[in-house]
């Protein structure tokens, strides 16, 4: 005996408390199960890639802040590395170590936000979010101390970094580094062993390793499926080849594994920060870059490991002061391409949890 | 009002109201346990069952359209009501003595377990069969 039901098309977003920005999904429901999912992006399109062609290479650095606004340092870093490779500029040692230090601090802040909002999507009424925001606030205070801004930093410049560290930076960073392992243990006991969180996110949103490779997913999505791939080890940039850290890898590729991977990456970033603090050499923090930078004609694709995945820049220069083509390989958009395979067959409640575990940033998706 | 109202959903809601009224009748007859159980079972569970059943009918069948049999049905039920009222008024009712109010829950419990133990057990087996049948019907193959 079957009752005739018709599939229902339902809109999730663009205004929804849990879509992490103006992101819209059209899901086709059959009862409670999703049979098809289609994403509609572009609600935050600001045409940065076109605007960047009108501005000089240095004037484009603030654009990279505003793409992934939760991980501005790594956005700056990726772009500046690409321009330096194109123009053949060498960054002094101190600048490279400072870049690594701040990139890892940014990774901790971004993962704290990602995990907090993930547990919020599982229904925990923002309590873990507020707990993780304590650490994020301390990191943002450090950022403000060194460059004056908390979110849109514009700190990593072509040739090095913008400012040197003030005197009170190192003691405050040391205090944070001492306190963070205890805090992480507290979150481990509160969140990682929580049965309800396990029930909500285990076996939900499974990404098989084949799907991850074929859809070119990167970042915690790839590592959650069991594939150990990190650009900091595969294609090292800055001084990552001198740093000693591990790659956390998940078991199955479900939401819980990605959550685990992000929590473990915070600890690994802490290791890198301690090594960078210890090895920080004195000296100049930026190379001398001409005011009107004209890289020789050519093209380059350069990538780094941002908290969301592989953030790549494809730059084409025609020898002039402005880029000829400025393209971003945004990790959130590429990670979203596997959305349909992840969503089909689940219930709507699981869909929200899955979307939270992908950790998208709509500024990066739409640019 | 249940038979007069057009909307089937309203009819079910008014039926719930009449269930509660029946519970009130039980309470005036000093059957406190049965009255509360009436609310618990009828207005709580069976009414939900009826609501689900009504929701499963297609939308067109839910509005009570009139049909040709309305007038004969009214006449027939009017005659039946007159007959019942006549019988009620003519009977010599024996009035029960207004005794003290005992709690009925304990005596019902005793009755269910001692003289009426067999019907009690049969009723529970019937309920188990119904539950198994329901699970079988909605199981996804």
């Amino acid at each position: 005996m079957s009752i005739k039901t018709e599939p229902m098309v339902v809109n999730i977003g663009p205004q929804h408390p849990s879509t992490h920005g103006v992101f819209r999904m059209r899901v086709t429901l059959d009862g409670e199960r999703i049979t098809d999912a289609e994403m509609v992006v572009g609600y935050l399109h600001r045409s940065m890639e076109k605007l960047a062609e009108e501005r000089t290479w240095t004037q484009n650095i603030p654009f990279t802040d505003r793409m992934d606004y939760l991980a501005a340092m790594t956005g700056n870093l990726s772009y500046c590395l690409a321009v330096e490779k194109l123009a053949g500029i060498d960054v002094p040692e101190r600048g490279q170590y400072l870049r690594v230090l701040f990139a890892e601090l940014q990774r901790i802040a971004s993962h704290a936000m990602a995990n907090g909002t993930f547990v919020n999507d599982c229904g925990a009424w923002q309590t873990p979010l507020f707990y993780m925001f304590r650490e994020r606030e301390k990191i943002l205070d450090l950022f403000e101390m060194v460059c004056g801004a908390r979110l849109t930093l514009n700190y990593i410049r072509i040739g090095g970094v913008a400012f040197d560290l003030p005197d009170e930076f190192m003691p405050q960073l040391q205090a944070l580094v001492d306190e963070l392992p205890d805090r992480m243990d507290e979150y481990d006991s509160l969140l990682l062993d929580n049965e309800i969180l396990l029930m909500r996110s285990r076996d939900v949103g499974i990404v098989s390793p084949e799907l991850a490779m074929n859809a070119s997913l990167t970042g915690p999505m790839l590592r959650g499926s069991g594939i150990a791939w990190d650009i900091r080890k595969a294609d090292p940039y800055c001084v990552y080849d001198r740093m000693d850290f591990d790659i956390p890898v998940g078991h199955q590729g479900d939401c819980y594994d990605r959550f685990l991977v992000r929590m473990a990456e915070i600890r690994q970033s802490l290791r890198i920060i301690k090594q960078a603090m210890a090895q920080l050499p004195p000296g100049p923090f930026a190379a001398q870059v001409p005011l009107s930078l004209r890289p020789p004609a050519g093209e380059i694709y350069s990538r780094i490991e941002s908290p969301k995945g592989e953030l790549g820049f494809y730059l084409v220069s025609d020898g002039g002061p402005t880029p000829f083509r400025w393209h971003v390989r945004s990790p959130s958009l590429i990670n979203l391409s596997a959305l349909r395979e992840m969503m089909v067959g689940q219930t709507v409640a699981d869909a929200i949890v899955t979307l939270g575990s992908i950790d998208i940033n709509v500024g990066e998706v739409d640019r | 009002m249940i038979i007069v109202v057009r909307n089937l959903m309203h009819a079910v809601l008014l039926l719930i109201l009449s269930f509660v009224g029946m519970a009130g009748l039980f309470i005036t007859l000093s059957a406190d346990f049965v009255g509360v159980v009436q609310v618990l079972i009828y207005a709580g569970a069976i009414a939900v069952l009826m609501i689900f059943a009504v929701m499963l009918t297609p939308r067109a069948a839910r509005d009570n359209a009139g049909n040709a049999l309305q007038l004969p049905a009214l006449v027939l039920s009017g005659l039946l009501t007159a007959g019942v009222i006549f019988v009620v008024l003519q009977t010599e009712w024996r009035e029960a003595s207004r005794g003290s109010f005992d709690t009925t829950a304990a005596s019902i419990g005793d009755a269910l377990l001692t003289p009426f133990a067999l019907p009690f057990e049969i009723a529970s087996v019937l309920l188990v069969v119904a539950m198994i049948g329901a699970i079988l019907l909605v199981r996804e193959e």
Binding site: E195, L198, D246, D350 | L13, A105
Partner: protein
Amino acid sequence: MLARWYDFRDLGNGVARMAQALRDAGAPDGVVYALTALAGCLGILIFVGLTAIVNIWVERRLIGRMQVRRGPNRLGPWGLLQPVADAIKLIQKEVLTPRAADGTVFALAPILIFVPAMLAFAVLPWGEKMVLADLNVGVLYLLALGSTSAIMVFMAGYASNNKYALLGAMRVIAMLISYEIPSVLALLGVVVFAGTMQLSGIVQFQDFYWSWLIFFQPLAFLIFLLASTAELNRSPADIAEAESEIVAGYHIEYSGMKFGLFYAVELVNSMSVSAVIAALFLGGWWTFGLEEFVPGWMIFIGKLYAVYFLLIWFRGTLPRFRIDQLMALAWKGLLPLGLANVLLSALEVLIWQEYDVSAGIVLPIFAVVNFVLAGVLLVAFMRVMTRSFERLPKRARLVPDISVPLPGEPATA
């Protein structure tokens, strides 16, 4: 022999004195009955009105504190005027009724949903002589009220003429009627042990044997607590009002004071459930002799707020269950536990009554046995139900180097 009317340790003294005076003055029985009932109703209305306002403040401040923040502190000292501001905001909002909605049912649903919530306060024993309606079937009456509120939820969802509201209402009804059974079984254990369904009788049982029923029925307490959080649509079972779900709940189309009524009903329901737990398991107004000095009803209200604090604690800490996980918890988890509890309690009462053993020997043994069995059963059930989630480790695996061949390198095996 009536105590003094100004003996505020039991407010029923004043009412009894007034009733005696009226009877002496020759008023007929009906008038005396009506006036005493009116006095009781007035007291309950004052309490419910005050708590509906105070609880908004209590809940928001406590949740704020649990989230490492302060909670409302702008309006009035410590944010005490926040509920007043909330009420004014809701009153002055425009009350929209969807055009295709069922007008009468839409307007009636928020009002009718208040009825069971208020009626539950009538049977609670606030003090030794302070029960408004001392029903012989008090416990069953409370369960009946819980089951009628499911109908009101459906009325609200159906009348909104919104398929998401209807879906939400259907899910909530399924959840409510599933969780009635574990709560009935938990209360059945209590009734079997105490021997009476009268709430004041259960409190007197605890008074007579000088201990709280939670010591003898820990499993029933836990089951009833969990089933009640589901019946109240609170976290971790609050799929009805979950913000992060798309089916937004049965009260999505309500605005203004109608929504305010739904919100207030949730608070009043939490109060009544906390009061039931306090009366049945925590001894009501009786607290090991403390009620000689502190008025019994104040102790009762204190215990009520203690249980309410537990409910707020659940809300602030735990993530939310999915609907099918909730159903699994009710039918596969709480139902067998409730049945085990009833069997055990019946066995114990049988041993106690049939063999006429003295209570002083047998009750401590029962308490210890019940606690041990409750612990064993709960741990066993938890292991069984979460076994599928334990097969994979709960920490990420740390790998020192990449395992995928770089592009351009020959692919090794």
